[in-house]
Symmetry: C2
Subunit: 407 residues, 2 copies
Amino acid sequence: MKSVAILGFGVVGSGVAEVLAMNEDKIEKHVGCKVRVKYILDLRDFPGSPFESLVTHDADQVFGDPEVSVVVETIGGARIAYEYTKRALSLGKSVVTSNKELVATHGPELMELAKANNCIYLYEAAVGGGIPIIRPLHRCLAANKVVRIAGIVNGTTNYILTNMRDNGETYEDALKQAQANGYAEQNPTADVDGIDAQRKLSILSSIALDGSYVSPSEIHTVGISGLSLDDIGFAGKIGCKVKLLAVLDNQSEGKAYSFVAPHFVRSTSVLYPVEGVFNAVVVEGNALGEAMFYGQGAGKLPTASAVVGDILEAVMPVEAVAYAHNWVVPSEGERVTLPYEDAVVKIVVRSASASIDDMKKVFASYDTEAVLDDKDRKAIFVRGISNKDIDKLVASVKDAKWMHLYE
Amino acid sequence: MKSVAILGFGVVGSGVAEVLAMNEDKIEKHVGCKVRVKYILDLRDFPGSPFESLVTHDADQVFGDPEVSVVVETIGGARIAYEYTKRALSLGKSVVTSNKELVATHGPELMELAKANNCIYLYEAAVGGGIPIIRPLHRCLAANKVVRIAGIVNGTTNYILTNMRDNGETYEDALKQAQANGYAEQNPTADVDGIDAQRKLSILSSIALDGSYVSPSEIHTVGISGLSLDDIGFAGKIGCKVKLLAVLDNQSEGKAYSFVAPHFVRSTSVLYPVEGVFNAVVVEGNALGEAMFYGQGAGKLPTASAVVGDILEAVMPVEAVAYAHNWVVPSEGERVTLPYEDAVVKIVVRSASASIDDMKKVFASYDTEAVLDDKDRKAIFVRGISNKDIDKLVASVKDAKWMHLYE
C-alpha cells in the first residue's frame, strides 16, 4: 500500500482522486500494490463529496505523516504551492504536479532540492494536459539533438481562433463564448496574452536543450488579443490558419531561440488541422525527423491522467519503472481477445443496384445510416454488427460489397 | 564508459552506429558517461565503412566480453535473432531491438528471461519506428484503462494507398512504384498482407491489456492486395479514405478484440490526414480521452533514434532513468537562448495598396515568394529575416501588416 496526499482539491486535484478510484484495479496491477489517497489538504470542506472524509486543513498532519511518500501539488500559482513543494521535497517526499507556473518559475531549484533529498519532482501534466510529452521528449528522444519544437499548447486561444474562423466571430465575442463554455477564465489574461504558453515553452525548451534552463523571462511573448477577423480571413486566402505557436528553434548551433506569437500556419503542416481545445506539439529531432503528439491539452480527467501516471512512477521501485512489464501467456487453448467473428464492429455496405430501403431492411436489427444515395451507387453505415453476421447479410443485398468503418 | 555490441549491421544497425556517433556529446551529457560501440557482429565485412574496425564474425568474442552490457539486436527475423537474444539475456546483458517479429512471437519468454537475469529487454523501435509509442503507452498512460487503439502502423501499405488515391494508380502499379522507391521489399508479403501490422498490433495490445499477451495468431488479419481503385474512389464519395488499420477495441469489459483490416476512415478522424509513409497511432484512455502519436514509422535514422533511446535507458543507472534531469540556471546576466531580436524567422507581409514588386524590392536581401496577387490584396513570404529588422522594413511598404509564418 502506498499513500499519497493531494494538496488543493480543485478541478485537477479532484480529478486525481477520481482517476485513482476509477482505475484502482488496473493501477494495483501496474504498481504491484494499492495506491490510496490518505489526505486531501484544502482550506475548504467538501460536504457530500465521496472524498469528504479525507479532507484536512492541517498541513502539519499531512507533512508529518511518514506514510505519505508522494505529494500531489494541484494548488496552482507560485506562492503556497512553492512553499508546500519545498517542504515536501525537503522531507524526501516526491512531488507530482500539473502546475506549469511553478515548474517554469522555480523548476531548477525544486529539481535540485528533490535530488538532494533522494526523491523526485515530476510534471508530465504541466504541458499538454494528458498528452504524454515531457517523458517522451526527455527519454524516448534522448538520442536526438532536438532541432525544433512548435506547439499549440494553449487550448483556450486555439478555441477562440477556431471560432473566429469558423463562425466569423470577433475576438471579443469568441472570448465571451469561450468564457460561457468554461474554456476561458473570467480573467483570461494568462491565456490570451500567451503567458500560459510561455510557461509551457519554458519547460519544453529546458528539456530540449538538455537541461539548460530557459526562463520564461527569456521568451518574447505576443498573445492573440490584437488579432482581427481580417487577419483570420486573410490566412485562408493564402492557404493558412492563424494559430498561437510556442516555438523553439535550435537549428543553428549556439543560436537557439524561443518565442510565443500568432503564426500563419500553412496547410501542409501537421499543426494545420489542430482545432478547438486540442493541443499538439511537433518535435523535430536530428535523427528522428518530425514527430507529433496530439490530444486534449486540458480538462479534469485528461490532466489527472498525466498526474496519476507520474504518481505511479513516483511510488514504484525504480527498477520497476525502468523495466518494461512482462507479458503473461494465456493458458493452453485460451486466448486474451475475442475471436474475430464475435467482435462487434461498424461497416460500410454499398451497392450499385439495391436501394437504400432495401439495404436498411436487410440490416434492420442494427443502427444504420444512409450516406450515399446517388443514381448509380447507394451506401449505408451499419453500426453494432458482429463480424460473423456480415457476409451472409451482405450476400442478401444485390451487388453489395462491404468494408470496416473507422470514425 | 559503457560498451554496446550491435548484432546485424543492416539499415537499422548501421543507423544505430551513426546516431551514437553523430550525437556523441549530447548522449554523454544525458547518460553521464560515454557510450561506445565495441563490436559489430555480422557475417559480412564492411570495407570502407567508418565502423569497419569494429566488425567481427566471432559471436563468442562479443558475448564473452564482460564490458558489453547492452546488445543491440537488429538482425530481424525470429531464428538467429532469437538465439542471440536468449544468449545475451541469459548472460545478464540487456537487449534492445527493433525486431517486431521476435517481440511479437517470443516476447513473453524473452521478457521473463530478462527479469530472471536482472537485465532488460526494450523494443520502443518495434512499433512506429522513431515515434515514441511503447514507453508512453506503458508509462505515461499507466493510470488509464486503454479502451481503444487504432493505428496506421505500416508505412508501405499507407504509401501504396495514398498513391492509388492521389494518382489513380492500380494496386499493382502502386506496389511497383513503392518497390522502385525503396518503400516496399521485393517480396512485399509481410507488408501488403498485413503481417507486419499484425505483429505491431500484438505488441500494442499486450501492453494496453496490462501484460496479457495477445499472440499474433489471435489477430484476424486482412491486407490490402484485394483493394481496387473502385474501393479507393468510392471512399472519397462518402467523405472517407481507405487505410489499413490495426485496431484494438477494449470498450466492453472482457470483450476485447484485435484485428487488422482495410477501413474506410472518416474525414472527422485524426487518422484521415495521415498520408504516405507516415504512421500514426490513436490511443484512447478512459481518463485521457484520445491522444495521437504521429511521425515517420520507418527509415534508418528515425528507427535508430528509438533504438538508441532504449540503449541509453539500458545503460543508465535505474535511478537516473526514473528521475527527471535537473535544469541548470545560466550565470547571472546570461541567457540560454538568443534575444528575440536576433532570431532569424519567416514572415508573411501583406498590403492592400503596394504591388508585389514594391514589396519584393523592400525585402530584396531576403528569400521572398509571392503568395497572393489579388486586385485588392498582395502578400509575400519573407524567409531568413531577423525579428529586429521586420518593423522598419514593413513600415516602408504602404499599408502593410505582417505576421510570423510556420511551414
